[in-house]
Symmetry: C2
Subunit: 250 residues, 2 copies
């Protein structure tokens, strides 16, 4: 049985302020919890699951400390979940210490200036992971990576991709030998673009694009040629298309 | 002033059943209403707008019948809006009669089997419009194109893209000379794929993919090569990548 204060505590973790204070976050659903159990079980502080999930995941739970596993009812899960349709299991997870992005000079780094929509950020993390991109730099205006909707949209990729939140201009001032290619509505066609071995792909805010102080740091601008009527593309779709076009030649 | 029954009536249009009965839907926000005023003003039955929007859009409203324009307060807009942050103006719009997709043999038709997430469907419509694809066939399991979240995500592209909801197997039985290329997790790399002049690109459900009865109608399967750890891509991102890879050679 979950106590009233226990429920309150979990609910408080849906707010960034409390996540930051506690160094914890909530990860929900069968898919993401499985990823944590397989690849980062040591970060799992507590698991709350319905009997059905516990039964079906005996193998996966093999080494997991039983005192950290709490069987709850569907009604209890509903009370602590942030999802409209709660999905069997919910984990309280310890945040990893932020690993600074350390460029080797050979990889593509994704830089996100002010991606505010949690669904977009999560989808971009998932897409980066698909293309084997391991480092994402986020400006302070980006959605929080531990936001429930972000985590949901990453489909577990959050475990594999290294995220650093930082002032992007300051960061690049210290790494200004790395060329930045900014995704905009004008510039070189992404189909003709061949990035350097080590470079940064910069994606800007959903409606305002890349801020001027970052745009001025760009080596070049790249664009997805338009053939129809839409004024722009969704930020996560555009990121996927750009990464795909670049990665196919690497 | 909006009457109580007026508010109720507009709110009822957020349900598919009532939209179907009335032949009407709600389009919200500065961007989409502007697209309707510019390109399909005859479909606009009523506009509800705050004074600020009316003032700023005198030019746009030039020929619009004043008896169809209603000035409302921010509080009133909040009551009829489906958005967390209502956006100045809301329109009651007449549905167009569904235009059957009539293949010319030269165009790419997008076929969507069971895209259930409204945000995904809207984003796919917007992406198709960007690449100049004008025809989308939706299976009956797809989200309703007049759902508020779908419309929001299309960013106005709904006006330019012709959508037909139909049984996809039956439809293709009547047009079986058109090759279908199904997007799956295996198959020819989309980077090597060259579609026929006229063909269908088929995208399946977010978690289950393409149903067997449609998969068996596919001429070939195409895939986006994976280079990292994610198990799959978001459906709208995958659609964007596939369309981009194909359209760059046309």
């Amino acid at each position: 049985m979950l106590s009233k204060s226990g429920v309150k505590y979990i609910q408080s973790l849906y707010h960034k302020k409390f996540r930051d204070e506690e160094g914890l976050f909530v990860a929900e659903g069968v898919k993401i919890v499985k990823e944590f159990l397989l690849h980062a079980a040591d970060l799992l502080q507590r698991l709350y699951a319905i009997p059905e999930w516990i039964e079906n995941n005996a193998m996966l739970l093999g080494q997991f400390p039983p005192d950290k596993l709490f069987e709850i009812s569907n009604t209890e899960l509903q009370r602590i979940s942030s999802l409209a349709t709660p999905n069997q299991v919910l984990a309280i997870v310890q945040k990893k210490a932020q690993q600074p992005v350390a460029p080797s000079g050979k990889e593509i780094i994704l830089m996100l200036d002010d991606i505010q929509d949690p669904g977009n950020l999560g989808t971009i993390i998932r897409t980066a992971d698909w293309f084997g991109i391991n480092s994402i730099l986020c400006g302070p205006g980006c959605a929080d990576m531990y936001n429930a909707k972000v985590l949901q949209s990453t489909m577990g990729s959050i475990i594999r991709v290294n995220m650093q939140y930082t002032n992007l201009t300051d960061w690049h001032a210290k790494h200004d030998h790395i060329p930045i290619y900014g995704c905009t509505l004008s510039g070189t066609s992404v189909y003709e673009f061949r990035g350097d071995a080590g470079c940064i792909i910069l994606v800007g805010n959903e409606s305002k694009g890349i801020r001027p102080e970052l745009l001025s740091r760009c080596t070049a601008q790249i664009t997805i040629p338009r053939q129809g009527g839409a004024e722009s593309l969704n930020a996560s779709v555009a990121t996927g298309i750009v990464l795909s076009a670049i990665m196919q030649h690497r």
